[in-house]
Each structure stands twice: as structure tokens, then as C-alpha cells.
Amino acid sequence: MSDPRGPSLTSVPGMPGRGPGVGATMRLGIKVRPHNLRYAVARIWAYFRGERARLGLVFFFILIDSAFGMAGPYLIGRAVDAIAAMAGSSLNTLQLPARALTMALFALLAAYLGGELLQTIEGWLMAGISQRMVRNVREGLFDKMQRLPLAFYDTRPHGDLMSRLTNDVDAVSVTVSQSAVQLMSGVVVVVGTLVIMLSLSPAMAFVSLLPVPLVFLLTSTIARRTRVLFKEQQDALGTLNGHVEETVSGIQAVKAFGRELEAGKHFGLINEQLRRVGTRAQIWTGFLMPMMNVISNIGFAFVAVTGGYLALRGFISVGLIATFVSYSRQFVRPLNDIANSYNTLMSAVAGAERVFEVLDEPEEQADAQRARQLTQPRGEVEFRDVSFGYRSDVPVLKDVSFQAPAGSVTAIVGKTGAGKTTIVNLLSRFYEVTSGSILIDGTDIREYSRSSLRRAFGVVLQDGWLFAGTVRENILYGRPDASETEILRAAELAGAAHAIERLPQGYETKLVESGANLSQGQRQLIAIARAVLAAPRLLVLDEATSSVDARTELHIQQGMMELMKGRTSFIIAHRLSTIRDADTVLVVDAGRIVERGSPEELVQRDGYFRRLSETQRRGIEI
């Protein structure tokens, strides 16, 4: 009997259903903004801020390296010319072309060596640049995840968000590290080669340019398709990640109900969708290279035929044909590279867009300007006509008003779904009130900074969730600088000390996910110790001891009473033993407070509280 945190999500369009409509529900409720390629690329580019000097350096190296690369065919041409001259010369005239050949070859050697060195440096630099950039993308995304409201997480499969941080960012990473250099050097080489070819023979240069429009047409046609397919592929991968995460996390239930085969079936559907779009994306991508080869060979043939013709007419030398053939090949390869990188860029854009989708989600309402810090509150809490609903059409709390004086203990009881946990959610500003206000020390909580407000509370939540760290790390969570004595005392007060000492490694025991080393009740005790150690002025215990046995609970009660001294506390509980020491009991029903008073008063009245206490005493014969 606590309350619905958002009773229904039927309106969320993209919750991945268990049914066959996997394709239709692939977008997971995240708005897909209209595809705007330039916008996406500009946004990716923004992540290179701070790397621009290094990128400039890489570009500079690429310029030189490309110059070396382009010098290659020219020097080969010179060498071939020299060789041709040597072929036709007698022994005494041999010296001149032989010197020319030697010089050309030394220049060639230098160009190759220099090119290799520069390429290695470029790759080295680019690896750093790209991975730092990718780290920033991930960091930015995770930072953003801190500022998103809980409502965002309530509707998204965890695995899909994980996929955005790894698989999608990976898609960006691969592209940036592999294609950036390719793209830059491609452009440089195309421009450079063009200039050289123009200077050598404008007619031949023109012939070499003929395939270019075809290349553009081909690339844009293919990229248009792959872009959509890559996005669908990343979406499917995300959904798959979500399903795997959920299945593995809930494996106990899967096994208990023998649902392995059904889970597999559902997995199969997503897997099939992933396979289908993946294959299509790959096929379209694969079209690129053979087509480019045809185009380049057409160009190649043109160059050879034209060159042959011109040489026959004596306009150009045989060496020049060799040079041109090399150049036109060199011209086509960077064009291939550009086309290829452009297509790979589409997969980066697809990944980046999924990251941007999260980045564009509305954040938790920002702190008020000049927000006040809530430090050392007296601890007076007041709800003033508070109404709230997780969805606008389903009110959960209706005009709830109550006051808790500093240092008082307030127990909140009521049936499941009455609105109890919602009160906690609003108090710590997990959600914002729809109307009315909540005041601490007479000031609306919206005027405090959110972080200082939350730090003022020690909260023990229903599920007693712990990190996969050691017991000590978990207790230290709320106050990492606490001393050893304080840890031991917190564990003692929370009644967790005995259980912890019995563990093989005591406080250094690593908690495992399956819960094999600690029972649910023991986990709750550690969660209480964690809140106790943080020891703020306000304490909220939301069914903090529901899995703890009564004897242990009685044992912690004394510790808790000590702890609650001087602290304003709210206790949500079902067991009478937990609430009988409260100053005030609020009985909540259907979002309203229906009874209030001290436990003694309420027992006298004929109401819910009396029935509750009688039921517990009498056992289940109702």
C-alpha cells in the first residue's frame, strides 16, 4: 500500500510491446526530430572544440603527405621518360638520362618515406583526437542523464540507454577515427591532382573529370538510403540491448516461470528486425565500391584512349600518358575514399542522432535563479494544498495539507496506491507538485537548490537498492568522508552490524547482484545504515524495514528512536510496531488525508487505523 508512481503509461507511443509489432515500436518513445543532416554534422563538429588546433596540424600533415603522394606518379613519369630516353640512346649519351633517372628515383624514395612517416603521425594524432572527442560525447550524455527527470527513466528500457552510450557512440568513434583522415586527404588529393593535371594537359584533365558528377550522383543516392537504414539498425540494436538487459536482470522470474523459450521468441523478433535492416544497410553500402570501380574504370579507359590518341598525334609524350594514367587512378581513389567516408559518416550520424535524442530531452526544472542553499534546516515541513498527478488526467494527491514541526515523527499509513510514496517523491522533488506548495522552514522547496534540498534528506527507499561495491562503500555512499567509528556506529544503529560481521569478509564483502550473499532484509539494513550515516536533519523511511523481521526491527527501533531525536522524520510502514511511537499518524486514502492524530487517539476512533491494528493483532481470521 503505497502509491502509484504514474499509474499508466498507455499513452507512451513507443513502449516496446511483446507483440510482433517490433518495427513499429522501435523508437522507444523518444521523439525523432526531422532528419537534418547538416544540423547533425554541425553538432558532431561542435564536439571537436578544443581539438581544432590538433586537427589543423593533422590537416597540415595531410597537405604535405598528399603533395608527396601526388609527386609519386609525376616522379614515376619522369623516371619512365628517363628510361625511355636511355632505351634510345647510345652509350656515350647515356649519362644524362641516367642522372635524371637517379635523381627522380631519389626524389621518389624521399617522397615515399616522408609520406609514410606523416601518415603514421596523422594516424597517431587522429587516434587521440577521435577518442577524446568520443569520450566527450559519452561524458556529455552521462552528464545529461543526471539532469533528466525520473519520469524520463520510468518509460525507457535501461538497455536501450546503455546501447546509446556504447554502441551508438562506437558508431561515431569508428567513423571519426577511420574516415576523418580519409575524407580530408581525399579532398586535398582531388584538388591537388586536378591542379597538376590541368597544368599538364587541360584536355586530358577534362577527360579525367568526366566521372565526377556520376560519383556524386551515386554517393548521394546510396547515402540517402543507408542513412535511414543505419538509424533503424542502431534503433534495433538498442531495442535488442534493452531486451537482453531486462531478461538477464530478471532472470530469476524468467526461470521461475520457465519463460526462457518465450523470451527467446521475443528476442528472435528483434534479432530478425536487426538482421533485416542490417543486411539492407550493408547491401546498399556494398553497392558503392563496385559502382565506383565501374565509374573509375570508365574514366580510366577514357584517359587511356584519349591519351593514346593524343600521343599518336604527337601532342603528348608516352611518359605523359603513364603519368596521366597514374594520376587518373590517383584521382579516382580519393573520390572512392570520399564516397566511402561519406557513407560511413551516415552511420556516425545515425549513432549521433540517437545520442542527440537523449540530449534534447527536457531536463529537470532548473533551480530558481539565486536558489537558496538548504543547509542546517530546522526541519519544519509543511504541505499546503498539494495536488499532484503523474499524468494530468489521473490525480494521485488531492489538496493534501499537513504540518510536521521540527523534530517530530510523522507516520504515513494507508492502502497500496493511496499516495504515500508520492508524498516522498514530492518532498525530495523527484517530481514537481501540480498545485499547492511544500515548505521547509517556511520556504517553498522550489526556491532551494535541488541538490542542497536532497542532501538535507536521509531517504531509505522501498527497494533498498545497493551498488555492486563493498558493504563499506555502500554505507559510505551518502557521506564519503565519514570515519571508521562513524561507519560502525551507523551499522550498529541500523541493526546491520551483526549481519555484516557474519559475512566472510565483513565490511569488505563485495555485494553480488543475485543477492546470494545478503538477504533482502539485510540489504534493507545496510540501506538504513547508509541513511543513518548521512544523518541529515530530515529523515524519510519508505517501507524501509518491510523485509526485516520483527525481532530485528524491534532491535533497530531503539537505534532509530535515538536517531530521530532532533530530526523531522517521516515513516511509511505497514507494521504497527513501526509506527506506534510516532507523534502523528496520517492515514491516506485515495490521495486525501482521511484521519490524523496520535496513534493513541486514532485507535479510539472507529476508522482505518483501528481496523489496521486489530487485523494485525488478530491474525488473518478476518
Partner: protein, 545 residues
């Protein structure tokens, strides 16, 4: 090419030039046709392979027992399913694409070059093995780096997953900055690992090209002076260099594939580790003894059970437990936190197996029963409620796929869930978020009970699953359960005396050892642990009754 220059240009025959040009073109088109076909095939095959691999992994993972699952980090299992498979798949695709092409190009280039001019081929004899050697070194140095990179991904996944799981706690304690730091640690490690891996690759790619380019210089050098002796035509040198470029091209291709192979090999080992561990709960194995389904066979008996979790270093959580749970009766297990209650019932559906002693369903040791059948006959409602993304009706049908709407409603009524379900605007079609995050704890627990009831099990195990339900509703649920419990064996783990008092038989556990067995009235008189619990819960007057 060589012939255009040598024959055409030399013979000054324009027709030959044109004819040869056309020939080049048609060869190119033919080649493209072949490449496209190869593309289709390799895309289809590699993605099918990837899909199959993922499916195999998924089935293998779901067939793991808890003990086997504990051997892997959950986040790592997820990375392996998606990211690692993607790497392997990309490699398969790449390999198929160049599988025949690159070696044929390389070998063809070699053969043609040698045939064209054996004298110049000495150069190749040096350059090609050198490049091949480099590729091998590349492989050996790259592999461990990429493995570290994938492990970095694991950690990023792991931190994220934990953050998502504990987001309320993070926010409640205002520990966002700590989480960002933790993430930055994992993120930094991944960045360092991948930068390192990429840098290794950045070194080898250009080095391979360099070797072949040096070969070209050598060819020109040697060729030049041989031409002078008139033993070589210029066209042949050009052609030879073209063949060398071709070999270089295919070597580059191979080296590119090697790069992806290195990454794929690292991933493949991780995938392989999952596949290599044989799931002991595989459903493909031959069914063991099949149990006839009669009411009398559904009793549950624990006989001298000792149990220690495999990872706990042999510390017993259960020591010498004997218990007989009769069909049609309500058996309760009560005891302090951590006394072994949940561990005891986890042995019935064989989530774990007892270290010593045995658990019997009817007259059969559960270890001898077909696992799937065993679990089909048991419904366990765990302490920590696990619901799944999907509608309420879909979640309830987990109990039994073919349950009618009427049966769902009936189960929901018994679990006192019907009223709040119909209170939602979407009713039974209301969509739950992951883990049922959008409904309250008590509502989740009641859905979980209803889900178990839909199954119409022979053995129903309720593991303290009403802790978030108020006492009045709990009493109603237990009352309704007792009325319908005539057909099944019901084991109830509870903290509440009120619930235990209603049971036909109560086992009191204390630190894994049985401390009492009998009805409420007897235990109040005879069992100290039980009396303590009573006093703690109901006050001293409760034991005077």
C-alpha cells in the same frame, strides 16, 4: 594497358587503341557485376551469421544456472551480445567480400608480374614477404589492445546499468557528482584503451604501403638500367609497376581485414567464453523422469538439507533442515532476517541445488526431474518483485500463456489486484515500464502473486511477497489463498505472526538451523525464537493467549 602503350601507341594504330579501350571497359563492368553479387551474398550471409550468433548467445545465457550466471558480469553479457557480435559480424562480412578477391588479385598480380619480367621479380621476392611479416606482427600486437578496449566497454556498460538501476538513490543522496566521477573513470579507461589500440593500427597500415612503394623504386632502378641494355621495353616497366600497385592494393585490403580481424578475434574470444560454458539448464537435453501429475504427488519434502552458495566460500546458510509440506495445506516459514528462508525455497525450483541432503517433489528428488516440467508445476513469487516491460495482461500471462481473460481476472481478484488494475485508465492493457517502475511496491507485489496464481501451480511459494501490502489487504489475500489452496501445496515465507498464525504448520528458522516446527499455538509455548518474534510484533500480551 601495357598493350595500349606498346602495341597501339608504338604501332600508331588508332583502331587498336580504341578496341583495347573498349575491352578494358567491358572487363570493368563484368568485374562490377561480380562485385555486386559478392556484396549481396556477403551481406546476407554475414548478417545471418550475426543474427544466429546473437540468438545462440541468448539461448545459452538463458540456459545458465544462477551459479553459471554469477561467473559473468551482467553488463559484460550484454556487451557481448551486441557490441562483440557486431565486431565479429563486420569481420565475417569483410572477409567474405575480399575472401577470394584479395588473394586472387595479389597472386594474379604476382604471376603476371613474374611472367612479364622474371628479372624484376626479385624485388617482389623481397617486398612481399616483408609486408606479410608486418601484417603478422600487427596481428600479435593489436589483439591484446582490442581485448582491453572491449573490457573498457564492459565497464562503461556496467557503471551505466548500475546508475540506471539506482537512480532514485543517486538522486535522493544528491550523489550525481560521484556518479559522474565514477563514469569518467570507466570512460577514461575506455578512451585510453581504444586510443592505444588505434595507434598500433596507425603504425602498421602505412608501413605496409611503404614496403611496396620501396619495391616500385627498386623496379624503376633495376628496370632503368636494364632498358639501357635494350633487354626491356618501357611499356613493360609501366605494366610491371601497375601490377605492383595492384599487389599493394590487395595487400592493403588484407591488412585492413587483419585490423578488423584483430578486433574481431578479441570479441570472438569473449563471445566464445559464453558459448563454451555449457548451460546446465539447457532444455535441449533429454528429459529426465517425467512425473505423473496427481494431487498427491505435489508434496514438497526437505530432507536433511545443507546448503552453501557456491560463491560464499562454503559458509552454510542452511544446516540440517527437514520439512514436509502437505498438499492442500499452508506451510509457513518464519525467522529473522538472513536466517535462510529465501535460500530454502530457492532449492525447490532448483535455482540452486542443496550441498547435502535432498529436496523431493512428491516421491522424486528434484534433481532427477526434467527442469522445465519441474518449474512448470511450481509458481514462486520472489521477495523482490520482477515485472517486465509490457501490459499488465502480458505480465500476468507469464504464468500461463494460454490463460483466458476470465482466468486472469480471477487470479487478480484473489491477489486483490483486480480493483486497482481496473482503476487505471488502461485497465489490463496498462503498459508497465521496466521492472514495473510506474506502479507502487504493493501493487507490484499483488501483480506478482496474481501472475503466480494464473499458472494454477501444484506448488505455490510466496517468498515474503506481501511486505509492501498493508495488513488488511494482506489478510484478505491470505484468506482468499487459503480458500483456494485445497488443490496445491502452499509454502509461505513471512515476517508476520498474523500470517504464520493462520498456517497449518510453521517452520521457525534461525541462522539456517530449524528452531521450531508446529502450529502457532504450540510454538508460542515451546519455541523461544518464535515467542520473541511474537512479543516484538504484537507486544508481550500476545503470548499470554
Amino acid at each position: 594497358m601495357a598493350r595500349i602503350v606498346d602495341t597501339g601507341v608504338a604501332a600508331r594504330d588508332i583502331a587498336v587503341v580504341l578496341r583495347l579501350g573498349l575491352l578494358m571497359l567491358s572487363v570493368a563492368v563484368l568485374g562490377a557485376g561480380g562485385a555486386t553479387g559478392r556484396n549481396f551474398l556477403s551481406s546476407i550471409v554475414s548478417y545471418r551469421f550475426g543474427a544466429q550468433l546473437r540468438a545462440d548467445l541468448f539461448h545459452r545465457i538463458t540456459s545458465y544456472s544462477f551459479k553459471e550466471l554469477d561467473a559473468f558480469d551482467t553488463a559484460s553479457l550484454i556487451t557481448r551480445q551486441t557490441n562483440d557480435v557486431t565486431q565479429v559480424q563486420a569481420f565475417v562480412n569483410g572477409v567474405m567480400r575480399i575472401f577470394a578477391k584479395a588473394p586472387i588479385l595479389a597472386i594474379g598480380g604476382l604471376v603476371m608480374a613474374i611472367a612479364l619480367e622474371p628479372g624484376l621479380s626479385v624485388v617482389l621476392a623481397v617486398a612481399v614477404p616483408l609486408s606479410a611479416g608486418l601484417i603478422t606482427v600487427n596481428l600479435l600486437t593489436g589483439f591484446p589492445r582490442f581485448r582491453r578496449m572491449q573490457e573498457g566497454l564492459d565497464r562503461v556498460n556496467s557503471v551505466t546499468r548500475e546508475y540506471l538501476g539506482g537512480i532514485r538513490v543517486v538522486k535522493a543522496f544528491g550523489q550525481e557528482q560521484g556518479e559522474v566521477r565514477r563514469f569518467a573513470g570507466a570512460n577514461g579507461e575506455l578512451t585510453a584503451a581504444s586510443t592505444f589500440a588505434l595507434r598500433v593500427m596507425a603504425f602498421f597500415g602505412p608501413a605496409i604501403t611503404l614496403f611496396m612503394n620501396l619495391g616500385i623504386v627498386a623496379v624503376l632502378w633495376i628496370g632503368g638500367f636494364r632498358v639501357a641494355g635494350s633487354s626491356l621495353q618501357v611499356g613493360k616497366i609501366i605494366a610491371f609497376i601497375n601490377y605492383m600497385t595492384q599487389i599493394l592494393f590487395s595487400l592493403n585490403m588484407i591488412s585492413g581485414i587483419i585490423t578488423s580481424f584483430v578486433r574481431a578475434k578479441a570479441s570472438w574470444e569473449r563471445v566464445g567464453a559464453v558459448l563454451a560454458m555449457h548451460g546446465s539448464e539447457s532444455f535441449e537435453q533429454a528429459p529426465a523422469a517425467i512425473l505423473p501429475s496427481t494431487a498427491s504427488s505435489a508434496s514438497v519434502r526437505f530432507s536433511g538439507v545443507f546448503f552453501a552458495y557456491p560463491a560464499s566460500g562454503g559458509r552454510f546458510v542452511l544446516e540440517g533442515v527437514d520439512l514436509y509440506c502437505e498438499p492442500g495445506r499452508l506451510t509457513a516459514v518464519i525467522g529473522p532476517t538472513g536466517s535462510g528462508k529465501s535460500s530454502l525455497v530457492a532449492l525447490v525450483p532448483r535455482f540452486y541445488e542443496p550441498t547435502r541432503g535432498a529436496v523431493y517433489l512428491g516421491s522424486h528428488d528434484v534433481r532427477q526431474l526434467d527442469l522445465q516440467q519441474l518449474r512448470q508445476r511450481i509458481a514462486l513469487v520472489p521477495q523482490k518483485t520482477v515485472l517486465f516491460t509490457g501490459t499488465i495482461a502480458e505480465n500476468l500471462r507469464w504464468g500461463r500463456e494460454d490463460a483466458t481473460n476470465h482466468e486472469l481476472e480471477e487470479a487478480a481478484r484473489t491477489a486483490r489486484a483486480h480493483d486497482f488494475i481496473t482503476g487505471f485508465p488502461g485497465g489490463y492493457q496498462t503498459v508497465l515500464g521496466q521492472g514495473g517502475v510506474n506502479i507502487s511496491g504493493g501493487q507490484k507485489q499483488r501483480l506478482a502473486i496474481a501472475r503466480a496464481l494464473v499458472r494454477k501451480p501444484e506448488v505455490l511459494i510466496l517468498d515474503d511477497c506481501t511486505s509492501s501490502v498493508d495488513a488488511i489487504t494482506e489478510a484478505e489475500i491470505l484468506g482468499a489463498l487459503r480458500d483456494s489452496a485445497t488443490s496445491y501445496t502452499c509454502i509461505l515465507i513471512t515476517q508476520r505472526i498474523s500470517a504464520a498464525a493462520a498456517a497449518d504448520c510453521v517452520l521457525v528458522l534461525d541462522e539456517g538451523k530449524p528452531a521450531g516446527l508446529g502450529r502457532h499455538e504450540t510454538l508460542v509455548r515451546e519455541c523461544d525464537v518464535y515467542r520473541d518474534i511474537c512479543i516484538a510484533q504484537l507486544g508481550p500480551e500476545a503470548v499470554d493467549v
